[in-house]
């Protein structure tokens, strides 16, 4: 057995060698000078590595001289009509210089070049004062290659994408830092791309090849979280600060006066606070009162930001602000009540994982309140946050709790949240005409509560029915009532369902979960590239009682079942029994991790498949 290994290895290295060789020969022509296009490249009908691609970037070269300019050169191959959209280019800068572009086609065996018509390059003023360049390449057909290059003086510190929605065959990024800023350049840690990095003097070169397209998958918070890119993180402010570590970063942020002042106690809300708190002495109750008050009165304008742009007083008066401003007001008010409270720096999921001590590492602020000796985290701004839970957008690794008085900081874990519970209790009856009807109560806790609460908020009552996403032909839901309580949101409704029961000969058949059953496996893709994000841990329980029609009794029931994910990361339990002319079913689905790595995909897919089949199993009734 073991003896075979060396041979096997040899075989592998031969393949690797061959592959590399073939790449360097076929796919990387010696130089990518502008206009150096070969007939062979134009003839290609599909890419060898990405045969499904409608278009590929043959070559992308970016050279950024930080603070000065950025040069971009791209060559794109269009394989078919679906790839035509890649011939339309948007450059998000207004100062595009040295723009060159051309389309190359093979016509009767010879290369025909059509230059980009400068009159057809449009400057679109997206918002007054913000201009972008837009154009499309002429004479595009299946097989065309397009090429463009330009320079811009803007955006030298912007993220540099290493991955597109089409594959990139070869990319080379050079970043030269001649400025007096220190920077740290890191790759998006959530992306898996392997790159070559080389630092020579002041220039960093990053190169990679055969980068697949970023393909959308379900159960992902946002696909852009996984895009490969380089972020350029300044680790100093014009020479005066150097963020060698998190301590100096925190120190620098605290020295910014708008930050420092935002959380200090003020006097102008004294009256409101007194009315609000009254004689309440309990700290948690006080926090809750202030939380609820601000939650009710404040509107979030959608911005995050770690530095407030308006004074706390303005936020208070305008009843509107960024996440940092609204949470800053909350911190300030609690401080006034002598509650131990401090700001917590957080990076939202889209801002990336905070790995480098740089100004962009964090992009928003929430409140850390010490209650019974423990730090509890609060956000007022987002609709997806409540007194117990933070918006899933904020559940990103860890944040920094800044002790403003002591000028110290410590890390706080952001992902440690409770299990959200959903209970569905249904009482159903099958009548003599084999129509099913009944009442359902949904008790939503945790994030289920937040979701339902937001869905019904400001919605007319007769529209409540539309938030119950049971897509089941023949089902009618009515009398939907909602009760929003402190502990959660309850929904109650009645239903009638036709065509849910089969009567064949003298037997009656039905799948006892009716519309509450899983109808489709959400995991249809054969392969998974990215983690499966359920957003939060949850436990979903359905308890159903079905009264049988007069004159029938149970002939057979499905078998009770329990399926478990490895390492007890989740489970599905199906219990069924009969008593006194009624069938009772309880199903419990539990997912104990919010995020599963992509290599668990097959197991999760199978888990849902088995669950779906089980939920379709039939109860058989016979006459007696």
């Amino acid at each position: 057995m073991y003896r075979l290994q060396p041979q096997f290895n040899k075989c592998i290295s031969a393949i690797v060698f061959f592959t590399l060789f073939s790449h360097s020969y076929q796919c990387w022509p010696q130089d990518f000078d502008f206009g150096n296009i070969s007939a062979a490249e134009l003839e290609t009908r599909a890419d060898a590595d990405f045969p499904n691609a409608n278009a590929v970037v043959l070559y992308r070269e970016v050279h950024s001289t930080l603070g000065e300019y950025i040069d971009v050169h791209e060559r794109i191959k269009i394989f078919n009509e679906e790839g035509y959209e890649n011939a339309t280019i948007v450059i998000p800068y207004d100062d595009v210089l040295r723009l060159k572009g051309a389309t190359y086609n093979l016509v009767n065996g010879s290369i025909v070049k059509t230059e980009l018509d400068k009159d057809m390059v449009f400057t679109d003023e997206v918002v007054k004062g913000v201009e972008i360049k837009k154009f499309t390449f002429p004479n595009i057909s299946s097989g065309s290659i397009i090429e463009l290059s330009y320079r811009s003086k803007n955006g030298t510190f912007a993220n540099i994408d290493l991955q597109y929605d089409i594959p990139i065959k070869r990319i080379e990024v050079k970043i030269t830092n001649d400025s007096d800023l220190d920077t740290e350049i890191i790759q998006n840690p959530r992306a898996f791309l392997r790159v070559n990095r080389q630092q020579k003097g002041k220039t960093l070169t990053v190169s990679a090849s055969n980068i697949p397209a970023l393909e959308a998958e379900n159960y992902v918070y946002d696909m852009d979280m996984y895009r490969s890119y380089l972020s350029i993180n300044p680790t100093s402010i014009t020479g005066s600060y150097r963020f060698n570590d998190w301590q100096t970063l925190v120190g620098a942020i605290m020295d910014v006066s708008s930050f420092n002042l935002a959380f200090r106690r003020k006097n102008y809300y004294k009256d409101e606070l007194e009315t609000l708190i009254g004689s309440e002495k309990d700290v948690e109750q006080q926090v809750r009162l202030v939380y609820n008050y601000l939650k009710e009165t404040m509107s979030w304008n959608g911005d995050h930001g770690i530095l407030p742009k308006q004074y706390t007083k303005e936020t208070f008066k305008n009843k509107e602000g960024s996440m940092a401003e609204i949470n800053g007001l909350f911190i300030s008010m609690l401080d006034k009540l002598n509650i131990e409270v401090n700001p917590v720096l957080v990076s939202t999921k889209l801002n990336g994982i905070p790995l480098t001590a740089s100004l962009g590492a964090f992009n928003t602020i929430i409140a850390g309140v010490v209650i019974d000796g423990k730090i509890r985290l609060f956000d007022i701004a987002s609709e997806q946050s409540n007194f117990e839970l933070l918006d899933p957008l904020l559940l990103n690794w860890r944040g920094i709790y800044i002790n403003m008085d002591e000028k110290t900081f410590n890390w706080v874990n952001l992902t440690d949240t409770d299990t959200s519970v959903l209970n569905v209790i249904a009482s159903m009856a099958i009548d003599g005409d084999l129509k099913v009807s009944g009442e359902v109560v949904e008790r939503n806790g945790g994030y289920f509560d937040i979701n339902r609460r937001n869905a019904i908020k400001d919605l007319p009552q007769d529209e409540f029915v539309n938030i119950l996403a049971y897509d089941n032909p023949g089902l009618e839901l009515f009398d939907v009532q909602a009760a929003i309580k402190d502990k959660g949101t309850d929904l109650e409704y009645s239903f009638e369902m036709e065509n849910a029961i089969d009567k064949i000969s003298d037997k009656v058949y039905f799948s006892p979960l009716f519309f509450l059953a899983l109808r489709e496996n959400p995991f249809q893709k054969e392969k998974r590239n990215y983690p499966i994000d359920f957003r939060f841990k949850f436990k979903q329980q359905q308890m159903i009682q079905i009264t049988l029609p007069e004159g029938y009794k149970v002939e057979s029931l499905p078998e009770p079942t329990k399926i478990v994910l490895p390492d007890d990361l989740g489970s599905f339990v199906y219990l069924i029994s009969e008593a006194n002319g009624a069938v009772r079913i309880t199903t419990t689905l539990e997912i104990k991790e919010p995020v599963f790595s992509y290599d668990k995909y097959d197991i999760i897919k199978e888990f849902f498949k088995v669950r779906m089949a089980k939920e379709q199993e039939q109860v058989v009734l016979m006459k007696y």
């Binding site: 035509y84 919605l459 032909p473 009618e476 089949a613 039939q618 058989v620």
Partner: protein
């Protein structure tokens, strides 16, 4: 001048008095019924001062009760190079009618309204207001000067469902007494007060109740008050027009916007001539030319100034290899003309729900352009913006509606191609086998034609991964569906699309103790069931029909035998017909045949619930199962 000044002051007096009380309590009871929002006050004042000058002064005050009512709020105004926003602002009131926020012109955001085009000169000024709580009242006003006068804003006091209107007024001042084309819908029915004179058009309505959307209802102009207005003399992006009938309209379009834009480079004419040189039949020539155009060009929309109305020249499209609908249509027309084939530039309201060009309203209408080619035996319609559509196939985008042809003799109305239920076919055949663990596997073929072809042929363009995902989502009820050997045959000449594949699923049946339930209707699931409507007020319209046939052979597992089948089912009525049969043969094979025909047509409102029942009956019968037992 004096007269105009007086009118303006009267108008503003009305505004001021109306402004007094926007409290929710002040809304008449019956306007709250069924309303997500109430338009408290709406006025549009159009001053048509000269052929090349008009000013619009608009104001709209809306009380919004919930987020479904937000659609009734106006908060932005569009403009382009021929117009400018003189004034714009908004005031927000709380439920008591107390002012809580005021936006001035400088608070508005000025955005590009390019949308999906590559570039347009359209812009929009808009305000982004964060809503603190409901109900609130939003007042919006603007003033816009325009040198383009081709169309006035329409008066449409009940623009969306479940919004009531307390007061709406429209005034067109026309001091130069330029004749106006007016089209009025349902004004008497709703007690609209109106005054029409050569110098002034005035319409006013009070207390218009909210109405509910009814499924499949006809166009809203059939049952709500609407006035459309246009001048007979106008200016459009610097071009003058004088149009009182369709003949004039066509001649104006042709002479002002279209003529002289059909010159092609000699080289292109030579190429096209070469392509068709051995072909006699003009329709065959047209087919080849259409194909040439499709391969050479693609759709890219650029609308700047007059370019929003006038096609780019044929030579420019030839040089760039792209154009918008006007440019590509004009280009195709030029290519056909170079070979002696006459064709007609055709204006249409595109989209699956597109409307007829209203013959009674001679004015700029429609949003798209196609090409009409009359031949001896038939008239062919060409969609020039697609690289894939077959010759003479326009699909649901522009089928079955009135359009205007721009001929040498002016504008002529005609109707585009109608696809009947017999044209729109979908035939599915499958040869399948069920294994011992109740998975099924086998070969499947789907053939489609007519509008069904239009729905499916683009599958061919998808990547193989996406194709699989599309099938998996269509047949989501098939557990763990696996697909292989997928291939397509796209017969553009006959307009037939064939899909062949091999499928394999896990457990297809429902287990019921020792019995097995099998639904032989494996691939069809009716998903959209309309609901019963009481007190329906409008007739209903089914715009397109189809004919479907499924033939499925299913070999059952050896160790199971049939316990029961269902009897043949046959249903037929004005909405369509349905037939399903299942036969069991001696070799333990099922043959299931399902035939469904859905008719198109317009039906009276009292038949609606019968239609719902018909669809529900189909659903029930589609679920018919057979029972197998071990043995």
């Amino acid at each position: 001048m004096v007269r105009l000044f007086l009118l303006l002051s009267v108008c503003y007096t009305t505004l001021l008095t109306a402004q007094n009380d926007y409290s929710v309590a002040n809304i008449p009871e019956d306007l709250l019924d069924n309303a997500n929002a109430v338009i408290r006050y709406e006025s549009m004042f159009v001053e048509f001062d000269a052929i090349n000058s008009m000013t619009l002064k608009g104001k709209k005050v809306v009380t919004v009760f919930n987020k479904k009512g937000l659609g009734a709020v106006s908060h932005s105004v569009g403009y382009d190079e021929s117009s400018s926003v003189k004034d714009i602002g908004a005031i927000v009131y709380d439920s008591q009618g107390k002012e809580i926020k005021k936006y001035k012109k400088r608070d508005f955001t000025d955005l590009s309204a390019t949308g999906s085009s590559l570039y347009t000169d359209n812009r929009v000024m808009t305000i982004d207001h964060t809503i603190a709580s409901y109900p609130f009242t939003f007042e919006f006003f603007f003033e816009l000067d325009s040198s383009s006068t081709v169309l006035f804003p329409a008066w449409d006091p009940s623009p969306i469902y479940r919004v009531s209107t307390q007061y709406s007024v429209y005034t067109l001042e026309n001091p130069r007494r330029i004749p106006i084309t007016v089209r009025k819908f349902n004004l008497d029915e709703f007690g609209v007060r109106m005054e029409e004179s050569p110098a002034r058009h005035f319409y006013e309505i009070r207390n218009l109740k909210a109405i509910d959307r009814e499924h499949l209802s006809p166009d809203y102009t059939e049952f709500t008050p609407v006035v459309k207005l246009a001048p007979t003399q106008f200016e459009l992006a610097g071009k003058r027009g004088n149009v009182t009938n369709w003949r004039d309209f066509g001649i104006w379009q042709k002479s002002t916007l279209l003529s002289g834009r059909d010159k092609l480079p000699k080289e292109t004419i030579r190429k096209v001539t070469e392509l068709v040189q051995h072909i006699e039949d003009p329709k065959e020539k047209a087919r080849i030319i259409y194909n040439y155009m499709q391969e050479k060009t693609r759709y890219i929309s650029v609308q700047v100034g007059i370019g929003g109305w006038q096609p780019s020249t044929a030579s420019e499209v030839d040089r760039l290899g792209y154009g918008d609908c006007k440019g590509l249509t004009n280009y195709t027309q030029a290519l056909l003309k170079s070979q002696g084939i006459e064709s007609l530039y055709t204006i249409v309201d595109a989209g699956e729900d597109g409307k007829d060009i209203d013959e009674e309203f001679v004015a700029l209408q429609g949003n798209h352009v196609i090409l009409t080619v009359p031949f001896e035996d038939e008239t062919v319609f060409l969609e020039c913006t697609s690289q894939q559509l077959p010759f003479n196939f326009i699909g649901t985008h522009t089928d079955d509606r009135n359009v205007i042809l721009i001929t040498d003799e002016g504008g002529v109305l005609t109707r585009t191609h109608v696809y009947s239920p017999d044209d729109n076919i979908k035939h599915l055949t499958a040869e399948l086998k069920m294994d011992a663990s109740f998975g099924i596997a086998g070969d499947l073929q789907i053939e489609s034609g007519g509008l069904v072809y239009g729905e499916r042929f683009s599958l061919e363009q998808q990547s193989s991964d996406d194709i699989k995902l599309i099938y998996k989502s269509i047949w989501g009820h098939l557990n763990d569906l696996k697909l292989s050997d997928i291939n397509f045959n796209n017969d553009k000449r006959e307009v037939r699309f064939r899909e062949n594949m091999r499928i394999e699923t896990d457990n297809y049946v429902s287990k019921a103790g020792s019995r097995i339930l099998v639904n032989p209707n494996i691939f069809k699931r009716i998903e959209d069931i309309p609901t019963i409507e009481t007190d329906r007020t409008q007739p209903f319209e089914i715009r397109r029909g189809s004919t479907q046939r499924d033939t499925i052979r299913l070999q059952l597992p050896e160790n199971y035998k049939l316990e029961s089948l269902f009897d043949p089912i046959e249903i037929s009525n004005e909405f369509g017909s349905y037939k399903a049969t299942v036969v069991h043969s001696e070799d333990n094979q099922l043959l299931y045949v399902r035939e469904l025909r859905l008719n198109s047509g317009r039906f009276p409102k009292d038949r609606y619930n019968d239609y719902v029942k018909f669809i529900k009956t189909l659903l029930r019968n589609d679920r018919s199962k057979i029972v197998l037992v071990p043995g």
